[in-house]
């Protein structure tokens, strides 16, 4: 079943590359992907821990337990749902292209990114886990380079090289981790690795180096503080679907990897002194505070809507890392749910930004204003997504952020963790400042002459966009339902 889910976007993308089919093919493939994901979602049996819907070939290389194997457990299922929802919205919000084969190239690449993300989350094998993510990088470069806006070539190069370096560091980290495991129990299969991790075979001192490599590698992929300068310009200059898929879904690969590999394998590494008296956890906390406070302030200074949302998505990564750094069940489940909800809210925000860019051309605040009069649906959707992303109760972002904050204050938390949680709380205020300022600048106030001519969203695009806030509300009112999926995986990870 999962292999079919993986093949749909790839086959459609191939057909589109060859010039056959049009945008409706891409839409059909996205809907099919969502359909199958929901089938898997409701077919998943929460009580059983471990992987379900598993299908695998036999070992590809003799002697190496490496095989094409796909399976899904609570956490990856949540990420799959996120990917499917965002893909549907992304395809619907792709800018309409002149009907030539390059349009096929555009839609095909968008589907390839989605396939890369799906593959990464579905892969039960370390090799394919890494390979699928790399698959998603190539079309990103193509799309930003060809169809981006602003100084797109420079930005496309920057994101590709930056992520390339990140992937290399990550690869060394993975290899280092793999070699740190005693030879007998080495395997590429994530399930076996989970059992190995549970028995804590890697001595504490030996955990520090793989931890650093993994955290820096994943940090670059996820725009952790010192390595974040590629993110915002890339999302701002990227065409809408790429920005949605990349900031909404692909960024979660890094965090998914942290939860899947760093937390179960290298728990003691967090408390090992790495630099003078600073333990690894302190370094991570300092970095994520950089994300929250520093990038938050940078976001306030932005004058263009797409840059504000780009930087805000970088800033919210700080909260997910805070959840991971707190290393307890509350913080971790908060982090995983936040990955899901942040993906949805930032995808919705980018979709609307794309729609505005299509209608107005420029996105800086001086040229916009009072759009709520002429595009009520867009302004309500933007308000919902904006309030969700700044953590308004009723949306699942708030539920997950609460868990992250409670995780940060759980007894046994170090002093620095508590103070950084308080700073993260202050970050919530900063995010409110810039998000409300941009909402006021774009939608409220005196309607500009050009904004009166805007046509509101119509037809099926409304449902595609509406999917995201609805999912956020579901997560907000019934987080318990989603946590049921996450609990077995996270308890196994923290054992």
């Amino acid at each position: 079943m999962l292999t079919i889910l993986l093949l749909i976007p790839i086959v459609t993308a191939a057909a589109l590359f060859l010039g056959k089919g049009n945008r409706s093919w891409a839409k059909a493939s996205a809907l099919l992907q969502l359909g199958i994901t929901l089938l898997v979602w409701f077919g998943y049996d929460q009580s059983k821990a471990g992987y379900q819907f598993v299908s695998q070939t036999d070992a590809l290389f003799p002697g190496l337990d490496l095989r094409y194997s796909v399976g899904v457990d609570g956490l990856s299922l949540l990420m799959l749902l996120l990917t499917a929802l965002v893909t549907v919205a992304a395809v619907w919000f792709s800018p309409n292209m002149p009907a030539n084969n390059r349009a096929g190239l555009f839609d095909g690449s968008v589907l390839l990114i989605s396939a890369g993300a799906t593959g990464a989350f579905v892969a039960k094998d370390l090799f394919f886990f890494y390979a699928f993510h790399e698959l998603a990088l190539i079309p990103t470069f193509l799309l930003i380079g060809l169809w981006g806006s602003g100084e797109r070539q420079a930005v496309a190069w920057k994101i590709t090289i930056y992520l390339g370096v990140g992937s290399i560091i990550l690869l060394t980290g993975l290899v280092d981790l793999f070699l740190a495991i005693p030879a007998a129990s080495r395997s590429f299969d994530l399930q076996k690795l989970q059992e190995v991790a549970a028995s804590h075979l890697i001595p504490a001192a030996a955990q520090v180096r793989p931890w650093l490599l993994l955290t820096v590698g994943f940090g670059i992929l996820v725009s952790l503080f010192p390595f974040h300068s590629w993110a915002a310009p890339a999302y701002a200059c990227a065409p809408t679907p790429v920005a949605m898929l990349h900031s909404g879904v692909l960024k979660k690969f890094g965090l998914y990897g942290m939860v899947r590999l760093a937390v179960p394998f290298l728990p003691q590494a967090f408390h090992q002194p790495v630099w003078g008296t600073w333990t690894a956890q302190d370094l991570l906390l300092a970095a994520l505070l950089g994300n929250i406070i520093y990038v938050g302030l940078v976001t306030i200074a932005q004058r263009k809507l797409d840059y504000v949302i780009g930087y805000s998505s970088v800033m919210h990564m700080g909260y997910v890392f805070l959840g991971i750094a707190s290393l307890n069940i509350i913080g971790l489940s908060g982090a995983c749910l936040l990955m899901f909800s942040h993906g949805l809210s930032v995808a919705a925000l980018f979709a609307i930004t794309g729609a505005i860019r299509e209608r107005e051309g420029s996105l800086n605040f001086e040229r916009l204003g009072g759009a709520a009069k002429s595009v009520p649906f867009l302004s309500v959707a933007f308000a919902m997504a904006a309030f969700a992303s700044i953590g308004l109760p009723g949306f699942s972002n708030f539920a997950s952020e609460t868990m992250v904050f409670f995780g940060g204050f759980k007894d046994g938390a170090t002093g620095f963790l508590k103070t950084s949680t308080v700073f993260a709380l202050w970050g919530v205020l900063i995010s409110a400042v810039y998000m409300l300022r941009s909402y006021k600048a774009v939608f409220l106030g005196e309607p500009t002459a050009s904004s009166l001519k805007w046509t509101d969203l119509h037809g099926t695009a409304r449902f595609a966009l509406a999917l995201l806030p609805v999912a956020l509300l579901l997560g907000g009112f019934f987080p318990h339902y989603f946590l049921g999926f996450l609990k077995p995986t996270l308890e196994a990870a923290l054992r």
Partner: protein, 602 residues
């Protein structure tokens, strides 16, 4: 049936808000109908709840992570909740009826009623909450609904700015509130009031932590009830339609802070430092707001500052330990302040959105019903003996008398100023001649507006007496209201202060067409707004632009572009080695060999 009532109260406004958003955002009558049924359903079930005085408790899990964390949407009805429920649903219903006419010709009417229902849902959530986490959830939801309501006429830039300001000020308060909750949770391990009560010892064992947690929780109240540092948003919130000001910025939302303090009083009680700070903040707010109110010309701004000062009084009441008296004052204040606001709404509606009192005048003849109800409300507020205000303010003064002279002095001075500026308002607006032609054709509003005024006028009178308040408060709660034993001097002082204030204002303003007293300091609100604008907004933008510059040039420029520049540079210099001279190459080759040779044989 007993446990389903709270759910009906809570969820009916939510249902109406959702239905309006999804289906009825086009048709005005349907949305009005939906929100009216919702608010009256809530009001009805509240009255039903008064039939029995038992404590009702139901809850639904929100987040359940086993022993580690268990957050619930818990509803608890006890005496305090009943009082607040009555106030919220009662005044809510009256405001809903009032706005059907007031907002008649507004094209965003459906959106208005949707936001009103959302507000009712969030406010009821706060009142019904049985744990701090749930209270925080609805705390922010109330913040959002006030953002929507203040910014109702969003095309007006000033309204949009005021809405933003309100939300951000509340958010600052919420930041403190959440830190308080986390501190309490970290110490006692539970967020429910009952849970905290049980292992309060774990918190009180460390007095500095207790004070810190108490003051953090108090931050939430400062944000919501607009106490001194965070009071700037309330006067600007008058940008919203008047029913909004009446419901939110007089009776219910701003009272949420006082209610929360009353709820968590058992946490604050063991730490005198926290109570002292709370009392001081309350007193300062009361005096400051009263001073500002004396110099305002906009009728709604005067009432806003009056609300601020009365809230300061309630918070001071809690600070001196008389949370019962504060709740009683909140109870009575809700009625007459809503009456005053709705009255001013009627005046504004009649004079085609004229809000400056100096452009009104002589309305007692043209708007008799509004005039009578407005005077009753003013007398109740200023504390004339026999009306509601007198009893509740007296209870607070009594408690303050026993606790600290400074608080008592401040409260007394505030009552003086309250009498002064309220009489000033009534005299200028209603007595004398119509200062402008527009004021001449004032007329009483249709019954849908004047009937609520009358009901509120009646309530303002009887809400002070035992037979009415006692039944609502219930025996032991009403007893705690009058806990402090009676000192006859206090009421005498109160009455004398009231008469001085009223007489002073009467003589000063009777028959005047211009404001004789000009104090720019008060008129410009002690220049606090300008201070905030330059201090907070200024430093934040400065910091933001610096970090954006730093991010662009240093972090992005030096490190990222630096590395790419470095590689380019190295490439460029190495290129120079190809200088196409064969001898040169041989020479380099030779020198290389020789150097290698010497390195080896050394």
């Amino acid at each position: 049936m007993e446990t389903s009532l709270p759910w009906i109260i809570l969820l009916s406004p939510l249902a109406s808000a959702v239905l309006i958003l999804l289906f009825a955002h086009r048709s005005k009558p349907l949305s009005v109908l939906l929100s009216l049924t919702a608010v009256f359903a809530a009001f009805g079930s509240t009255l039903l709840l008064f039939s029995s005085h038992s404590v009702v408790q139901t809850s639904a899990t929100w987040i359940d992570l086993g022993p580690a964390l268990h957050l619930t949407i818990g509803l608890k009805i006890d005496a305090l909740t009943r009082v607040m429920l009555l106030v919220v649903t009662g005044i809510g219903a009256l405001v809903h009826v009032y706005s059907t006419v007031y907002m008649a010709e507004d094209d965003g009417k459906a959106r208005f009623f949707g936001s009103l229902s959302l507000f009712m849902f969030s406010m009821l959530g706060i009142v019904l909450a049985d744990n701090l986490a749930m209270m925080f959830i609805f705390w922010e939801l109330v913040g959002v609904s006030s953002f929507l309501l203040i910014g109702h006429w969003f095309t007006k830039p000033s309204a949009a700015k005021a809405a933003n300001k309100a939300f951000l000020a509340n958010r600052v308060g919420d930041f403190g509130f959440m830190s308080g909750i986390l501190l309490v949770w970290a110490a006692t391990g539970s967020v429910e009031f009952a849970g905290i009560q049980e292992n309060l010892a774990k918190l009180t064992v460390n007095p500095s932590l207790l004070t810190l947690a108490g003051l953090c929780l108090f931050c939430g109240a400062v944000g919501k009830s607009a106490q001194v540092p965070l009071h700037v948003w309330l006067p600007d919130a008058m940008e919203g339609p008047t029913p909004v000001s009446a419901l939110i910025h007089a009776a219910t939302m701003v009272a949420a802070g006082v209610y929360m303090l009353a709820r968590i009083f058992f946490i604050l009680e063991p730490s005198p430092v926290a109570l002292g700070v709370i009392a001081a903040v309350g007193a300062v707010t009361a005096v400051l707001a009263a001073l500002m109110a004396t110099q305002q010309d906009d009728i709604k701004r005067i009432l806003a500052y009056s609300t601020l000062s009365q809230l300061g009084l309630m918070v001071a009441g809690i600070g001196v330990g008389a949370w019962g008296a504060s709740m009683f004052h909140l109870f009575t204040h809700a009625f007459f302040k809503a009456l005053l606001f709705l009255g001013s709404g009627a005046v504004i509606h009649a004079l085609h959105h004229e809000q400056n009192i100096w452009k009104m005048g002589g309305l007692r003849r043209t708007m008799p019903k509004t005039f009578i109800t407005f005077v009753i409300g003013t007398l109740a507020l200023t504390g004339t003996p026999g009306l509601a205000g007198f009893f509740s303010k007296d209870a607070i003064l009594l408690a303050a008398w026993h606790k600290s002279a400074f608080i008592f002095g401040a409260a007394l001075f505030t009552s003086l100023l309250t009498a002064y500026y309220m009489t000033r308002l009534v005299v200028v607006a209603f007595f004398g001649e119509a200062w402008t032609p527009n004021a001449k054709h004032g007329h009483d509003c249709p019954p849908a507006m004047t009937v609520p005024l009358m009901i509120l006028a009646v309530l303002s009178v009887i809400s002070g007496y035992k037979f009415f308040a006692g039944s609502i408060f219930g025996e032991e709660l009403f007893h705690s209201v009058h806990a402090a034993e009676h000192v006859s001097l206090v009421p005498i002082l109160a009455v004398s202060v009231f008469s001085i204030g009223t007489a002073g204002a009467w003589f000063l303003y009777n028959g005047r067409s211009k404001d004789p007293v000009k104090i720019p300091l008060f008129r410009n609100k002690f220049y606090i707004d300008e201070l905030y604008a330059s201090l907070i907004a200024g430093t934040q933008d400065l910091l933001a632009s610096f970090s954006s510059w730093f991010d662009h040039f240093i972090l992005d420029g030096v490190i990222v572009r630096g590395i790419s520049g470095l590689t380019w540079g190295v490439g460029y210099t190495l290129r120079l080695l190809q200088f196409s001279n064969l001898q040169g190459y041989a020479f380099l080759f030779g020198t290389g060999v020789v150097i290698l040779f010497y390195m080896l044989i050394k």
